[in-house]
Amino acid sequence: MSLHATPHPKDTVKWTTVGGVRVPVHLLIPNLPDPFMDIEDYEPDADLMVLNMGPQHPSTHGVLRVKLVLDGEVCVKVTPYLGYLHRGVEKLCEKLSYVQITPIVDKNDYVSPMMNELAINMAFEKLIGAEVPRRARYIRTICAEIQRLGSHLLWLGTFGLDMGGAIGGGGSIFMHTFRERELLLDLFEDLTGCRFHYNTHTVGGNRHDIPAGWAAKATQVLAVISKRCIEYEDFVRGNKVFQARTVGVGIIDPVLAIDLGISGPVLRASGVDVDLRRDQPYAAYDEIAVNVATDPGGDCFSRYVVRVDEMRESIRIATELLAGVPEGPICSLKPVKLPGAVKAKHGQGVYSSIESPRGELGTFVVGNTVRRQSAIPYRCKIRSPSMHLLQLLPYICPGNNISDIIVTLGSLDPIMGEVDR
């Protein structure tokens, strides 16, 4: 009975290699549901109900709309609809200069704005050929890790809400994680002057240097959160109701996940050992070892385990980097006075990607060859991991009931601002 399910033990997992990737055998699903299934083929005389979940629903993490076809309470077919938060960021990028884009993309993944800035500025630097000073790379990495921690804290809170409701045990874990996230926002406020939409990365480095005493304060805050992580583990991991709701729920086939372009903690929770921080080091990750957290369970509980392990790893990386920030300039280019000061010299497309809390966040940018417009990208495309995560829904939801769909959706951690852009 799933009521007393125990998490999948790590040591008894059998592994196989599919397409050069080592994956756990027990997660491979032979028959996947067809997302384009004609509902008439299901069972012609079944009494089916169409339920429109969202775009106004407390648990669709924003304005996702999911059309569910239900047989009783069991889902038969899932069709996600996007676009309710489409703000045309890519079109805006074609109208603004390279240095003006950073505050715009802050609003994409509104849970981790630092990551957006980092991703898009890395692409611009690659296009323009700008170097980033070592100190700026350190600051970027520290910011990225603190942001990852903050993003996972928010995820843990909202995951509790999905399972326990805002007026219940879920609300308690939510309040606790938000208390800690507040400390991180204070850190960013001290660093950049803003609590949320920082605009601190720029082409060639950072705008804001570390203020006096910030490193000590940040180290102390990380130590506090490190202790509080143990509290969450006590509150959540051993909780029988939490285990009953997450173990064996929303199992993701790693081969399917790779095929769908899913990356980040969701893929690692299916046992695939992939992390761009280690595999394709950017910023200062080539100077520090990154221990990649994986779990072979493939279910919602594994995704919780992986994210909590990543929180600890982020605390470790940030603390170690804070101890050895090198001296030097924080921006290789001169301080930007005019938006047109940063110019691309060629019209080729370049791509660069980072490991955001949700997976591979990449930017494809094409420079403009018209000389008068060389400070404006010709085309800028943001490859958002959340969009690929939502693509998973039609494959893993059929056969589950509504409660499990909500938990599965919550465990994927999609951010609609990033999906729709």
Binding site: E73, G168, G171, I406
Partner: protein, 325 residues
């Protein structure tokens, strides 16, 4: 306090007890919010009145001022009838519960059956509301609620059978009198008593739709379940009924298992009843703010695979105990 004419007695006592229960329910919401606030590192209500004590009044005023919306496609009559009926069902159960020696509206000889029946009757207004709202979320919530209430009635009644067998009466006053002098059924007979108490408590949580069994409401899945389409005081009545139900459950559990107004030594009195039942009430809040909720099929699995056999075994053990002693 009693009057010779049963009609007058029922009217006066009913009025007093219902109002006391409603005030306690209102303040239990204040207490729960304070309690939840402390659990969640925040102060809870603190603005309206000293320590936020006037918060329930402010809430009620706010709810009364809200626009009363009936969806165009709803069944108006049933839609409007459902919220008062839930409160009616919950309050009716109070009639047979003795809160102190002689402090009872109607001392029915089948009191316990009446109290449990009225508690289970709330499934009808809830289903009524879910159907009349003509919304899919409300309908799903109502279906879940019906399935849950009907399933959990059985172990609830089985666990209530334990004190009935021990006291040899359906009258709640008799059950309390049998426990006077510290012979609480939760402690004596050792084993079945405490297990039956736990079973009764958990099943009542499910019956009152409290976390971790609040799947009919499940606001993260079904938006707000049956009360999705309700606004203003009609929504407030659903909340009131839920809290009333919870309060009456703690009263009934106290009378059945914790000796009612039995206190240490000869200090019996209504104060002990209040202390015990309010402690249980607070325990329900504690559970609510620390657990997540089960899934619908898991809930049914707990009921049919675990609670029901446990209830049957407890009834048999108790009968054996009574037979042997």
């Amino acid at each position: 306090m009693s009057f010779d004419n049963p009609w007058i007695h029922g009217l006066v006592m009913g009025l007093i007890l219902a109002n006391v229960a409603l005030v306690i329910t209102g303040y239990s919401i204040w207490f729960e919010r304070k309690f939840a606030g402390r659990m969640q590192n925040r102060p809870g209500p603190s603005v309206v009145g000293p320590w936020g004590l006037l918060q329930p009044l402010a809430d009620a005023l706010k709810l009364l001022q809200k626009e009363d919306i009936v969806p165009r496609s709803a069944d108006r009559a049933l839609f409007n009838l459902a919220p008062p009926l839930t409160v009616f069902c919950a309050l009716s159960a109070l009639a047979v519960v003795p809160v102190g020696p002689g402090v009872i509206v109607a001392d029915l000889h089948i009191g316990i059956l009446f109290a449990l029946a009225m508690g289970s009757l709330t499934v009808f207004p809830v289903w009524m509301a879910g159907w009349a709202s003509n919304t899919k979320y409300a309908l799903l919530g109502a279906m879940r609620s019906a399935a849950q209430s009907i399933s959990y009635e059985i172990p609830l009644l089985l666990s209530a059978t334990v004190p009935i067998i021990l006291a040899d009466s359906f009258r709640i006053t008799d059950i309390v009198n049998a426990q006077l002098g510290g012979k609480w059924f939760a402690l004596w007979p050792p084993g079945p008593g405490i297990a039956a108490f736990a079973l009764f408590f958990l099943c009542s949580l499910a019956e009152a739709n409290r976390i971790p069994f609040d799947i009919p409401e499940a606001e993260s899945e079904l938006v707000s379940g049956v009360s999705t389409e309700y606004t203003g005081m009609k929504w407030g009545l659903f909340q009131l009924a839920e809290y009333l139900h919870t309060f009456i459950i703690s009263l009934v559990a106290t009378t059945l298992f914790l000796g009612g107004w039995d206190g240490p030594g000869d200090n019996d009195g209504i104060i002990w009843m209040a202390i015990k039942s309010l402690t249980l009430f607070a325990g329900i809040f504690w559970i609510r703010w620390s657990f997540m909720r089960y899934r619908a099929d898991q809930l049914m699995a707990i009921c049919w695979k675990f609670f029901l056999p446990l209830g049957l075994v407890l009834v048999m053990l108790t009968a054996l105990w009574v037979h042997l002693i």
